[in-house]
């Protein structure tokens, strides 16, 4: 039963809400309660940009159980314009056409299902623009 854990991550997964350390300005995604740079505990909410670029990627051909029927699919590390990096799938693309450096937009998609009767789990993916 994943409801409580899923619910907690909604602001991040649906709205890309990050946390910025009030003292040193470092932005964390997901937000944290303790800054590893300056050790402050005070943060404010900021929204990440939905534009970024692909730093590296792979094409998953053998997937984890929840994604096994979706292979092949591309996953990459995307750097958004604020310098924060996230891991996400690259959607709506021929997997052989993904390249490091491509510019992307982050969109809302379904990420996985919790089995046949559990929750639909949503979040972010990237599309090349």
């Amino acid at each position: 039963m994943i409801s409580p854990g899923y619910f907690r991550e909604i602001p991040q997964r649906y709205r890309l809400e990050a946390g910025r350390c009030k003292k040193c300005g470092k932005v964390y995604f997901p937000p944290r309660s303790h800054c590893s740079e300056c050790h402050s505990n005070e943060f404010e909410t900021v929204k990440l940009s939905d534009l970024g670029k692909i730093l590296t990627y792979t094409v998953i051909r053998v997937g984890p159980s929840n994604f096994s029927k979706e292979t092949p699919y591309a996953v990459g590390i995307i750097e958004v314009n604020d310098g924060v990096r996230l891991t996400m799938q690259i959607a709506d693309i021929d997997v052989n056409k993904v390249e490091i450096g491509q510019k992307v937009r982050i969109i809302f998609r379904k990420i996985q299902d919790e089995g046949k009767s559990g929750l639909h789990c949503y979040g972010y993916k990237a599309v090349v623009i």
Binding site: I10, Y14, R15, K69, E70, Q89, A91, D92, D94, I107, F108, R109, K110, I111, G115, K116, H120, Y122, K125
Partner: protein, 348 residues
């Protein structure tokens, strides 16, 4: 004045052609294309559903309207493929868009007219000054049974409309609904594919409701077909809206812009709403738009809109339907289509 202050549509990029489907079932693609006036349809990706489509369409509507999502007081989504049987699609859509939590949310269903239902209720709420803005969405990822006629047309997509009183781009002038128990098409709880009554879905269902709603709308408004620049009808295939339009006295030219089914397929609750969106993409101030939806079971919602000067401020602020129909398409073969539509039995 109550009307549409922002609108947006989203169609998935994937397509499957009539030829790819007919090949599997030994049917004649040319006969089908002639009979249905339909060439290809949209297919949702494995990661797309009514909720993700609604979020994207609504994002475009927000972009066009320029309003603060927090000012939206009601969100209604009409679909016949809500991802949950119990848990409104709107709950996820509002959190994705930053709407609420002080907001009213509901799901609507009425086969293909659930989208216009949402629009009608949203309109009524704003007109009553109950909320400042209401968001109405019609979206679907409809299923057509393998080898069935509907497999050629059942497609995916949706449109969103933000309704308010401020900076209205298309004003609601008149509405009229016409409903009866006409069992032409339905789906029982738990069934994966819908059932339909063949030719009975035509004259006694689609045409009776669309034409009656249309006639009453014209009477109510005191207007004649010639007064309109555009007419949009529910599009289960290419032929029905042309025939309904003709029966009501509209010309092919008036229907043309909103007649998008040959390249989109039937997006069910997204059908006439997306036709409307295609019209709003290019309409000019002063244009009058006649629209009648149809939902099996059965019923029709009719609307008359008048476009204002505001349309010029909002039209170009988000992607247009014609662009989505013509560009950036990714074609699938039948196997990929069947996989995406989850028609393949998995060992679960």
């Amino acid at each position: 004045m109550v009307g549409i202050v922002g609108f947006g549509s989203y169609l998935p990029r994937y397509r499957v052609k009539v030829e790819n489907i007919s090949k599997e079932w030994g049917a004649d693609p040319e006969a089908i294309k002639r009979g249905l006036l339909l060439y290809e349809k949209t297919v949702p990706g494995l990661d797309e559903d009514t909720i993700t489509i609604s979020v994207q369409a609504a994002r475009y509507a927000l972009q066009r309207s320029g309003i603060n999502p927090q000012d939206i007081g009601a969100v209604y989504i009409g679909s016949e493929s809500h991802p949950y049987a119990v848990k409104p699609s709107g709950t996820i859509v509002i959190d994705a868009l930053g709407i609420g939590p002080h907001v009213h949310v509901a799901s609507y269903e009425f086969a293909c007219k659930a989208g216009t239902e949402a629009m009608y209720v949203a309109y009524g709420l704003v007109k009553a000054d109950e909320v400042k803005y209401a968001l109405a969405i019609g979206a679907d990822t409809s299923q057509g049974a393998p080898g069935d006629a509907l497999e050629y047309s059942a497609s995916a997509g949706g449109s969103a409309f933000i309704i308010g009183k401020d900076k209205v781009a298309a004003e609601f002038l008149f509405t009229h609904s016409y409903t009866s128990d006409t069992p032409d098409f339905w789906r029982r709880e738990g069934e994966f594919y819908p059932r339909h009554a063949g030719r009975f879905t035509g004259e006694p269902a689609y045409f009776r409701h669309v034409v009656n709603a249309g006639k009453s709308l014209l009477e109510k408004s005191g207007m004649k077909p010639e007064d309109f620049q555009y007419a949009v009808f529910h599009m289960p295939n290419g032929k029905f809206p042309q025939m309904a339009g003709k029966q009501l006295g509209f010309t092919k030219e008036q229907i043309e812009t909103g007649w998008i089914v040959p390249w989109m397929g039937n997006t069910y609750s997204g059908s006439s709403p997306t036709g409307l969106s295609a019209v709003l993409d290019v309409a000019k101030p002063g244009d009058k738009i006649f629209m009648v939806s149809f939902g099996s079971g059965a019923g029709s919602d009719g609307f008359i809109f008048q476009v204002t000067d505001e349309i010029l401020n909002v039209q170009d602020k988000a992607p247009k339907v014609r662009d989505m129909l013509d560009n950036d398409k990714m074609y699938l073969d039948y196997g990929q289509y069947a996989k995406f539509r989850r028609k393949i039995i998995l060992n679960e």
